[in-house]
């Protein structure tokens, strides 16, 4: 068994607002081992980004309340002071964000921004740091890194900026790389390249990756394990193969069904999950997905625990439906030809 880098145990993140307490993340647990890729999938507002930002200490605020533990190599990050947390950010845990167009500071050169990240943690002089920046840009596939290192962000295309962001996130050789929807703002052709790049660099840098996305297609290639989040909670957790071939939660079926498929007849190529995610201030009682779930029945007013209900150990879900019923009915949603979507 390889080294366990990160253990998130019953993490909750609540924000006090004028409208009430927002339970953005509610009882999330997972582990991450070196060399592995964990996918966290869910709609907007499901709490996946808040989970990721909390690992980095970026959600710290007077109105934020944390519960549970985030142990990085055995140390609880939630208990660290802001100053102590600085040593982890960028150094032990690197992060890439959704929109590369706005994530780089427009008034500084790409190289300066990478050098800044290097010098924040390593005592090297500017020349060495810049040399490393060039090296990093080369590794992420920027052509002519020696001259492009002096470009400003607006001289880079979206894909190149995301590559530069990756170079920056990896500049101090972190053990964990968090990618928060790294491909959402990019062209489809670039998406695949970026995913591949992250996957390759993970091996080069011998680190682990948390890949956050709303698109199961993005993690289909590279993830080892996948968490499906809904309304701040994990609703299904399984190894990638099991999640794709034996999904247990009707919400997961909806996500799988909403991947556009060209092998379906035209009207059914793209499905949507009807309705909107619930409010995380006044979440419905019982199963949070119940109001949108076509399979809901009486028992769903009580919230199911996240537990193992199938033969495969480690495959957890939150659904009361009978496993055989689910296996019989899920295909209608995932690759439906009736047009009915979960």
């Amino acid at each position: 068994m390889s080294e366990r880098l990160l253990e998130v145990d019953d993490l909750s993140v609540h924000f006090s607002t004028v409208d009430g307490t927002v339970k953005a993340v509610d009882g999330v647990s997972f582990e991450l081992e070196r060399g592995k890729v964990l996918g966290i999938v869910g709609e907007s507002g499901s709490g996946k980004s808040v989970t990721a930002m909390t690992l980095m200490g970026l959600t710290r605020d007077v109105n934020a309340h944390f519960g549970g533990e985030v142990r990085f190599k055995g140390r609880d990050l939630l208990a660290l002071s802001d100053a102590e947390m600085q040593d982890y950010r960028g150094n032990e845990i690197g992060m890439i964000f959704q929109d590369p167009m706005t994530s780089l500071n427009p008034v500084y050169r790409i190289g300066e921004q990478i050098v800044e990240a290097i010098q924040a943690h390593d005592k090297v002089d500017k020349r060495q740091a810049k040399k490393r920046a060039v090296e990093l840009l080369k590794q992420v596939g920027i052509p002519n890194p020696e001259s492009r290192v002096d470009d400003f962000p607006h001289q880079f295309s979206g894909g190149m900026r995301q590559r530069a962001m990756i170079a920056m996130a990896l500049s101090c050789n972190p053990d964990v790389l968090i990618a928060d929807e790294p491909t959402t703002a990019l062209d489809v052709t670039i998406q695949a390249q970026i995913i591949e790049l992250i996957s390759r660099l993970k091996d080069d840098f011998n680190s682990a990756v948390i890949m956050i996305t709303h698109d199961l297609g993005v993690v289909a290639d590279i993830a080892d394990e996948i968490l499906v989040m809904y309304a701040g909670r994990v609703v299904e957790r399984a190894e990638k193969r099991d999640l794709f071939y034996d999904p247990q939660m009707p919400y997961t079926w909806g996500l799988l069904g909403s991947i556009p498929r060209l092998d379906r007849p035209k009207p059914e190529r793209l499905h949507s999950i009807k309705g909107a995610p619930p409010s995380v201030i006044n979440a419905p009682a019982g199963c949070k997905f119940r109001p949108r779930c076509p399979h809901a029945f009486e028992k769903c007013v009580e919230e199911p625990a996240l537990e193992n209900r199938v033969e495969k150990p480690g495959h957890l879900d939150r659904c009361w439906l009978d496993v055989e019923y689910k296996r019989a009915h899920r295909d209608a949603t995932i690759s439906s030809n009736t047009g009915e979507a979960a």
Binding site: D87, G90, F97, N105, E116
Partner: protein, 317 residues
């Protein structure tokens, strides 16, 4: 770059000419200002006035008059209607006072404006932020003429406490210490308004910038809060302040601090402008307007150049 400069310079000249033309038009449209009557004085005979009108060219069509005035202005031969003094000499005499006022007040208002903005943004919502906000609003709301008179009345010589000399300007070469003590009150009074205003603008800018994605990126790199604030937040938040400062500074330098100069009797260009307007005296008004327009236009050009330096996105590549 060269084309930019040429284009802007041509534009600047056109603006200056347009400004003088508008001032001239307003002057001949506004009733009650027959300059011949003023020049002739109270006991002039009608024949006197007609003679003056003819010899000064007031019977010419307005475009001829305007053209003559431009020629005189650029030749430095503009002469007041009221006291026949040379306008250029008067403006040059007023410049040391106006420059002293502007530079000193500018330094004060820029420094304290930035300080107030940063402090209140960094403690947004807390007590210090609220105190600064209230003070800033008081500063913005207080009319300069009122604040000037009140401070002069209470703090200057002959008032309740005689901490400062009572008005007037003393040349810096004459006596640096006297110059300084004479300028303190005008500086502060003029700066108060701007401090409040700049503080408010900067506070808003900083709070906007703090939520930018690239600030989050900076945080995620593990930079210290101080470095994030200075290098990533302040750097971008200060850009609009540069515009404000450039234009405000130019306006005051161009004789725009009419009230401050008059209240403290500094005999600067602004006070000269006020005097000329009171006397309905066209040539000095034209002269001062031209002088002011020169600074406004010049500084807005400088601001544009500085902008390109600060923000690489608008730099010509």
């Amino acid at each position: 770059m060269a084309t930019f400069l040429v284009r802007r310079t041509i534009g600047a000249i056109l603006v200056c000419i347009a400004v003088t033309f508008i001032v001239f038009l307003i002057f001949i449209v506004v009733p009650g200002g027959d300059p011949a009557q003023r020049i002739a004085g109270k006991n002039a005979t009608p024949q006197n006035i007609i003679n003056i009108r003819h010899s000064w060219g007031f019977d010419q069509p307005f475009y001829t008059q305007y053209w003559d005035m431009l020629k005189k202005m650029f030749g430095g031969n503009l002469v007041s209607y009221t006291n026949q003094q040379n306008v250029l000499t008067q403006i040059v005499q007023g410049m040391p006072a106006t420059f002293s006022l502007t530079v000193g007040a500018g330094v004060i208002w820029l420094f304290f404006g930035i300080l107030a903005g940063v402090l209140s943004a960094m403690t947004a919502g807390r007590l210090s932020d609220r105190v600064i906000t209230v003070l800033a609003l008081i500063g913005i709301s207080m009319p300069v003429f009122w604040l000037g008179i009140v401070t002069r009345y209470y703090l200057a010589e002959g008032g309740l406490v005689s901490w400062f000399p009572d008005g007037e300007y003393v040349g810096i070469l004459q006596s640096p210490s006297q110059w300084f003590s004479h300028m303190i009150l005008p500086w502060l009074v003029l700066a108060v308004l701007f401090i409040g205003f700049y503080g408010r603008v900067l506070r808003g800018n900083i709070l906007d910038t703090i939520n930018e994605d690239y600030v989050r990126t900076a945080k995620s790199k593990g930079l210290t809060p101080r470095r994030i604030m200075v290098k990533h937040v302040l750097r971008t938040s200060l850009i609009p302040i540069i515009t404000l400062f450039g234009l405000d500074f130019a306006a005051v330098l161009g004789g725009g601090a009419i009230l401050t100069e008059t209240v403290f009797d500094l005999h600067g260009v602004g006070q000269y402008a006020a005097l000329s307007i009171n006397n309905f005296d066209l040539p000095p008004i034209m002269g001062v307007t031209m002088y002011g327009a020169f600074f406004i236009v010049g500084f807005s050009m400088l601001v544009d150049l500085f902008y390109a330096y600060l923000d690489p996105r608008i730099r010509p590549t």
